[in-house]
Amino acid sequence: MKSQKPILVITLFLLLLAACSPGGSSSVQTSEQAGAPDLEQTQQAELTPGEKPAQISLTDANGNSLSFEGPPQRIVVAGKAGQLILHSAYMFPEAVERFVAMEQRKQRDISMLPLVDPKLDEKTQLEKDAAAEQIAPSQPDAVLMKTYMAESLGEPLEALGISVVYFDLETPEQFNRDIQVLGTLLGNPERAEQVLSFYQDRLDRVEAGLNGLAPDERPGVLLIQHDSKGGEIAFKVPPEEWLQTMMVQLAGGEPAWTEAAEGGGWTVVNFEQIAAWNPEKIILVDYFSDPEEAIAGLVQDEKWQALKAVQESNIYAFPGDFLSWDQPDPRWILGLEWLAKVIHPERFDSLDMLEELKTFYSEMYGLDAETVEKEVLPLVNGDIDL
C-alpha cells in the first residue's frame, strides 16, 4: 500500500491537470482573475472616422488566412524584432489608437515611438521575451510578430484563442506585401497604397539613375558588420538572401562577399579574406557603436591601408538615426538611396539626403520639419552629408 500511495497521488495530479487543460476559456478566466485590465479598457475603442466595421480577411506572411469582425481594436506587438513591425505600423495613424501593448527593443538608446505616439505612456510595455502568459492579460484582438516567432510565441498564443498575424518585412517584395496586410488589418488600405507609392517612387528613381549601367561598371562592394563585443573585433557579412545584399545590388554594386554568404545569419570573415576580395568600396555597419569611430580606427591600421578602398577613401560608415538604415525597417529606403549615392556618386549627384530624410519622416510619420530638426537630425550618424 505504501508503494501505491505515490502512484495514486501522481494519478490524481495528472487527472487534475487534464481537467485544467487549455481549451481557451479556463485560461482566459485565469488571466481575468489575475488582475486583468479595468473594464473600460476592455471595451472596444471607438472606430476612427470613416472606418467601416466590415469583416476583414487577410493572408499573413506565414500563409495563414485570418478573418476579423472589423479591424481589430486591441493590437499587441511582441517577440524579437518587434521594433521593425512597430516602425512599419506607425506609418498608419490608426496605430496610435489600436496598439495597446508592445515589446520595445531599442537598438540604440533612443526610441522613435514617443515622437509618433502621444499615448505611448498609457500603453503596456511588455518585458523582453514576454511569453503568452504576459501578453494574454492585455486581451488583444490580434498579436503581431515576426514569422520566426511562430513556434516559440505564436503557437502558445493561438492555443489561447488569440489571433496572431505574422510579418516578414525582410525584402522589398515582403515589405510590399506586409504593408498591404497592415493596411487591411488597420482598416486603411488607402494609406498602405500611399506608403507603397512613396517607396516605389524612390525605387524607380534609383533604377532610373542606374539606367544603362553595364555589368562591368558595377564596382565590387563589401558590406561588413563591425562587431566589437567583448573587446574582440569580428567582421561579419550578411547572407545572400538578406536585405543588405539586395540593397547593394539594387544600388548598382556587385556584392563581393557572396561566396561567404551561405549561412543563415551573419558569417565571420577574417581580414585575410577581406584582403583577398580587395573590393573597390567598403561599407561598414555597426549596430551598437559609432561606425565612423570604427572606420577611424581601422584606417590607422597598416594592413587596412593596403586595401584599395582605403587608399582611395572609399570606405564608408552606413548611416542611421534611431537604428541603422541597412535593416528591414522602413528606413531601408533611405539606406538604399544613400548606397546608390555612395556607389555611383556621379549618377546621383543631385540626390539630397537631407531633403530625403525630411520628406521620409514627414510623409511616413507625419513629423514636421521642426521636430525632425530637433529630434531626429542630432541622432544621425554615419558618412552622410546633411
Binding site: 521575451d129 562587431d227 563585443k229 567583448g230 573587446g231 574582440e232 573585433i233 569580428a234 557579412v237 562577399w257 561566396e259 561567404a260 554568404a261 551561405e262 549561412g263 558569417t267 565571420v268 570573415v269 577574417n270 581580414f271 585575410e272 579574406q273 584582403a275 583577398a276 551598437f288 597598416e302 594592413k303 593596403a306
Partner: protein, 319 residues
C-alpha cells in the same frame, strides 16, 4: 615529434585565403607588403595562440586523467573550460573590456569548476569513481554553460559579450599579438610546472598509499599540478572560448604511441596537442571564405579519432 610540429607550423604560415584560397607562394613575402603584414600581424600570432591552446588543453587533459585515474575526463568534461568561459564573460561584463582581469577571473572560475566537480563526486554514493567524477563534471559543466547563457541573455543589455556561438564553439579569429602576450605567462608557467613534474604524475596515478610510500607528498603535488593545468586552460579559454575534445583525445593518442608513463606522454601531449589545434585552426580559417568555429573542427576530428581509438584492437587503459 618536434620536427612534425615545426613542419605543421611552418606550412600553416603559408596556408590561408590570401592572395587566393589555400596557398601563399613563398616569393610573395618578398614582393607584397600586405602579404608580409598578414603573416606577421595575423597568421603568426594566431598560429602561436593555436599552439598554446592545443598544448595547454592536451597537457591539462593528461594531468586530469592521471591525477583522477580516469581515462574519460578532460577540461571540458570536468567543468574547467566552461568555468573559465563563465569567469571571462563575467569579467567582460564587469570591466567592459579585455585584459588581465579577464584572465584572472577565468582562472578563478576554472579552479572553482574543477573543485566543484571533485567535491560533488566525493559526495555521490553510487557507481565507481570513474562514473561519479564524469557525472559530477557533466553537471558542473552544464551549470557554467547555463551561466554563460544567462549572462548573455539576461545581464547583457548593452550586448557587450560576444555571441554564444563564440563561447560554446570557440574561435581564434580575433587573436593578435596582444592576446598572445596576455596568454603567454599563464600558459608558459603552467606547462613548465607540468613538464618538470611529469615523473611525479606517474606516482600520483597510483593509489594514495603506494604514492605516499614512494615519497610523494600527494596533496601538495596534486594541487600544484592541477592548479598549473587549470591556469593554462583558463588563459586559453578566455581568448578562444570553449574548445572541446582536445584534452580528451590527445592524451590517448600519446599513450598509444609512447606508452603510459608520464615521462614520455607529457611532452608528447604538448607537442601533439599543439600540432593538432594548429591543423584544425588552419582548416577553420582557410577552408571556406567564412570562418568555421574552431570547436566544430576539433570536435569533428576529435570524435572520429576517438571512435577509431576505441574500436581498435588492443585498446586498453592502464592507470
Amino acid at each position: 615529434m618536434t620536427a612534425g610540429l615545426l613542419l605543421v607550423f611552418g606550412l600553416s604560415i603559408f596556408i590561408g585565403r590570401y592572395p587566393q584560397p589555400y596557398w601563399m607562394p613563398l616569393k610573395l613575402l618578398g614582393e607584397d607588403e600586405l602579404a608580409r603584414q598578414l603573416v606577421t600581424a595575423l597568421r603568426l600570432p594566431r598560429l602561436v595562440a593555436a599552439l598554446m591552446l592545443g598544448a595547454s588543453l592536451a597537457a591539462a587533459g593528461n594531468v586530469l586523467q592521471m591525477v583522477f585515474r580516469n581515462p574519460l575526463v578532460s577540461p571540458g568534461i570536468l567543468g574547467v573550460s566552461q568555468g573559465a568561459g563563465f569567469g571571462a564573460a563575467l569579467a567582460i561584463l564587469a570591466f567592459s573590456s579585455r585584459g588581465l582581469a579577464v584572465e584572472l577571473s577565468a582562472f578563478v572560475f576554472a579552479c572553482l569548476g574543477l573543485a566543484l566537480s571533485y567535491l560533488i563526486a566525493r559526495q555521490l554514493r553510487y557507481g565507481g569513481w570513474v562514473l561519479r567524477l564524469i557525472l559530477s563534471g557533466i553537471a558542473v559543466s552544464a551549470l557554467f554553460s547555463a551561466g554563460i547563457g544567462l549572462l548573455k541573455y539576461l545581464a547583457d543589455p548593452l550586448t557587450q559579450l560576444p555571441e554564444i556561438t563564440f563561447w560554446l564553439l570557440g574561435g581564434l579569429w580575433g587573436v593578435t599579438w596582444r592576446e598572445v602576450l596576455l596568454m603567454t605567462p599563464f600558459v608558459t608557467l603552467g606547462l613548465l610546472v607540468v613538464f618538470l613534474m611529469r615523473w611525479r604524475l606517474n606516482l600520483l596515478s597510483l593509489s594514495e598509499e603506494t604514492a605516499f610510500s614512494l615519497g610523494s607528498r600527494i596533496g601538495r603535488e596534486r594541487t600544484l599540478l592541477l592548479v598549473s593545468a587549470v591556469a593554462g586552460i583558463a588563459a586559453v579559454t578566455a581568448v578562444a572560448g570553449v574548445i572541446g575534445w582536445v584534452g580528451l583525445i590527445i592524451p590517448h593518442i600519446a599513450r598509444r604511441i609512447f606508452g603510459a608513463s608520464a615521462q614520455a606522454t607529457v611532452p608528447a601531449t604538448i607537442l601533439i596537442g599543439g600540432g593538432f589545434v594548429i591543423f584544425c585552426d588552419t582548416i577553420a580559417r582557410s577552408l571556406r571564405a567564412g570562418e568555421i568555429p574552431l570547436g566544430i573542427i576539433t570536435s569533428l576530428l576529435g570524435a572520429l579519432i576517438f571512435i577509431l581509438l576505441m574500436a581498435s584492437v588492443g585498446a586498453r587503459w592502464k592507470p
